[in-house]
Symmetry: C3
Subunit: 199 residues, 3 copies
């Protein structure tokens, strides 16, 4: 199944994995009760959780994460780097939010595209793209006992829905390639950043 | 797989989906920290979460929710209606509890019946019916940081177990049809309502 | 799939199921807000949750727990016994911790071995063994609103990783049998107990 992934989508997917691993680990570091194993675990769950939920719902098991070692390697590397340099970034909220926006944008597009490839309908693909984008962070927040962003921050799910919709429409029109995929992710990213600015 | 569902079971299933979507969205509205996207998300998760867990455990993937657009449409409609009229219902606990009892009763029966259709044994079918009934609400509560009803309210799981057991016995006796299914759901509903009254 | 399980692994698996059911139910009893249904539910989720997550990720659905009635029977028996004798054990933290260490050790080995049997690579098998070991307790803690042990107790995941690694290496060397499996579980158990002592 993972063999169907185009190189451009794979690169986007690994970028999102890396960004979310950094983000999840940095959030874990700021939570005093969590130790190094907790930091690595939370970084990896943030990075690969959304894709695993998507692959379960798509019947694409075992998940891509367990079929292709690069996902686990990139997720672990991101979490370790965040742990090592956390003291430099600890007080800065901005990197955490930018990394989250990158992961959100990329996974909305790759998740929706993968769902279409598994034969799901357009509405289902948009929802699965959004689940891919928000799933890892939601698991992270549930494990930390925080209200997940998707529940409390209206402009968290909406950019993912928009990005996934653009990708699905582009795919239905036969226009989905690296350029449209990155454009859709960029639109999602910009909506998210503008939303954070006004929140 | 969803093609095996009889019309009566499908109608019951969609009724439960609608009731749980209203219930989940109304509970979300009462939780001040949650915005409109959170309300819709929580309504939909309450409505389709139990069935998704059931379909994962049954190896019936992708879940019925993603194979048949009516589940998503009914869940989204229920959550939107609850959001629109929440100001009328906000202070009333009774509709929330009645809607929850309806979803619980219906999903216990449809979940157990579907599990039998996938070849699981009677005890497993009873447990899967109960998981279908309580799963969505448990996900909702976990995301809101509340202790799930199934943990703290003894008369929450028991009616579901009774209803699922009646459906399984009726099915083993070759007596399961629309009338017995609705009767089993009614027994579950009545036990739940009596339990709420004395709690 | 469950037919591939050797008798030794099955006995280990049921031992871990029983230990985790006792542990989960005893923890639930100490949590005042949880009633008898909650105690049984939490005992069973602690006992079978890790294996269910493993079987989902392995594409081994329906989970072993739903294919072989002995898992459900042993889990229910453990939870009921813990409920019946909880007043004798209520104030004692030691049995809870020892039972947890037993479940952790056994599931790390059986989970990793099952993952290898499904064709996953060594690193993935180690991770899946660890997920099997910590998954049930993590679900238990998430439902109780506690920070999961794996997040806050560094010496919780590490023994499981070590035990799973030993089992995977033994298996790759063609040396995995009852004796090596029990030895790997014992190493995991001892690291965990020493870790608890110094914590």
């Amino acid at each position: 199944m993972s063999g169907e992934t185009s190189p451009a989508l794979l690169i986007l997917d690994l970028t999102g994995t890396f960004a979310f691993a950094l983000n999840g680990a940095l959030i874990a570091v700021r939570t005093a009760r969590v130790d190094i194993v907790g930091v690595i675990t939370l970084g990896m769950i943030t990075a690969i959780g959304g894709g695993i939920i998507r692959d379960i719902l798509l019947n694409g098991l075992p998940p891509a994460t367990f079929q292709d070692w690069r996902y686990l390697a990139v997720a672990a590397a991101g979490a370790l780097i965040a742990f090592a340099f956390a003291h430099l970034l600890d007080r800065l909220s901005l990197p955490i939010m930018i990394l989250d926006a990158i992961g959100l944008s990329v996974f909305a597009i790759t998740g929706a595209t993968k769902a279409l490839g598994f034969g799901l309908g357009p509405a289902q693909a948009v929802i699965l793209g959004t689940i891919t984008a928000v799933g890892g962070g939601t698991l992270r927040d549930a494990l930390l006992g925080r209200i997940p962003s998707i529940m409390s921050d209206g402009l968290y799910a909406i950019p993912a829905l928009v990005g996934a919709s653009i990708a699905v429409v582009a795919s239905l029109l036969g226009l989905l390639g690296p350029v449209t995929a990155i454009s859709a992710a960029t639109v999602c990213f910009l909506i998210r950043v503008v939303g954070m600015h006004f929140n």
